[in-house]
């Protein structure tokens, strides 16, 4: 697997097509994001499958935005799974990344990861390694939809109660790029409380991710309270799909209806 990725990255770097490749590096006993700039130095490049597939994934698109903001003329390569590619497509419609300046190097996720993620499309459009496996339905959402409304509400309130307000769900999110965050606005949510005002804090975030969340699950993995945030956002994504026939990142250049609604002249 990794051989094909290294070969592709080396070609891109050696040909000068990209300034650097944002990927993952296994170094000093840990896996983390790294910008590879030398085609001859890809020894430590890994795909983020340390003990289990996808167990050391990072929001590389977020790091890519940091680089692109400071070096808008440069082109960067980036390691992408299906979700990351959905992120690239969506970030470009929100004008956060210029598609001409990004060269994705894709990998397809194995069945085990697709199931754990309940991922509708566990592969990018193009990938250099891995095999295409079937998408998996949102079973966690169906399961909750199966219980009556009052019990469902109780379930979520019990989950939200565990929140330590670390803002990790926001900070890790590759799709959170606002300069000012509603979660820190005292007019919307009382900022001095722990757990934060419920269910307002979590629903505010869920609503803000509508039309933006690409279902990567990184927020869920970063939550120290193990709140099943991903399930919540999957449900929101289902609602947006039902109402507007839109899911972020599955079709290139397709803008979020919420993005269009917020433009002047659209009612």
């Amino acid at each position: 697997m990794i051989k094909e990725v290294k070969k592709r990255v080396k070609e891109l770097l050696d040909s000068g097509k990209i300034t650097g490749f944002l990927g993952l590096r296994d170094m000093n006993g840990h896996v983390g994001p790294h910008l590879f700039c030398d085609g001859g130095d890809l020894e430590a490049l890994v795909l983020g499958d340390r003990e289990r597939p996808g167990d050391s994934r990072y929001p590389l698109n977020k790091q890519l935005i940091h680089l692109a903001r400071s070096y808008p003329e440069d082109t960067f390569g980036v390691l992408v799974r299906g979700c990351d590619e959905r992120g690239l497509k969506t970030l470009s419609t929100w004008n956060q990344l210029h598609p001409d300046k990004v060269v994705p190097v894709g990998i397809a996720c194995p069945q085990e990861l697709a199931e754990a993620c309940e991922c509708l499309r566990p592969y990018p459009d193009e990938f250099v390694c891995g095999e295409k496996v079937e998408g998996c339905p949102y079973d966690s959402v169906a399961q909750l939809d199966g219980i009556d409304l009052a019990a469902r509400f109780d379930h979520w309130m019990r989950e939200f109660e565990k929140c330590i307000k670390c803002y990790g769900c926001r900070d890790i999110c590759p799709m959170c790029f606002c300069k000012e965050c509603s979660l820190e606005s005292n007019e919307l949510i009382r900022t001095g409380d722990i757990p934060p005002e419920m269910p307002l804090f979590h629903l505010t975030r869920a609503v803000h991710m509508a039309g933006r969340c690409i279902d990567c699950g990184l927020c869920n993995e970063a939550c120290p309270a193990d709140i099943p945030l991903r399930t919540l956002y999957k449900k929101v994504a289902d609602i947006i799909d039902e109402e507007f026939h839109y899911r972020p990142g599955y079709v290139a250049d397709q803008k979020s209806p919420l993005n269009i609604l917020s433009q002047p002249g659209v009612e």
Binding site: H30, G32, R57, S70, K165, G168
Partner: protein
């Protein structure tokens, strides 16, 4: 362009969460929790998430301050240590070692904490040692 992700340990408390500091052209721009760390497994508390902000805060003290006539003044380490040592000696001689207490810190290393309690017990002769994590 100089872009690095530096693996380090959060300095805020004694847990020892691992994180990467994202450094672009010498400026620390973000904090990323380390997924493979057995301590924090890709999670952080709100303090850890903001390491990149507080390590570069202009409010950080970089020199010792000594209160002179009601206002803090920057002084040299020699002056600060000299002043502290002579005051501690005066208090110990005047009122005994147990009139002094020591507060150690989770932000310091084990070795530094060891040294402080050793200093309290061996040099000042008191067991009055406490720690912010016990508050």
């Amino acid at each position: 362009m100089d872009y690095r992700t530096a693996l380090t340990t959060c300095t805020y408390c004694g847990c020892g969460c691992n994180l990467y500091l994202e450094v672009l052209d010498g400026q620390i721009i973000d904090t990323i929790p380390c997924k493979t760390s057995p301590v924090n497994e890709g999670k952080l508390c709100i303090k850890g998430w903001n390491v990149h902000e507080f390590v570069q805060s202009p409010n950080r003290l970089t020199r010792p301050l000594l209160r002179k006539e009601g206002t803090f003044e920057e002084v040299s380490w020699d002056e600060a240590l000299e002043f502290t040592a002579s005051k501690l000696r005066d208090i110990k001689e005047g009122y005994g070692g147990d009139s002094i207490g020591f507060l150690t810190s989770a932000k310091a290393t084990n070795e530094e904490n060891y040294l402080l309690q050793k200093f309290a017990r061996a040099a000042l002769g008191t067991n009055n040692v406490d720690h912010c994590a016990r508050l």
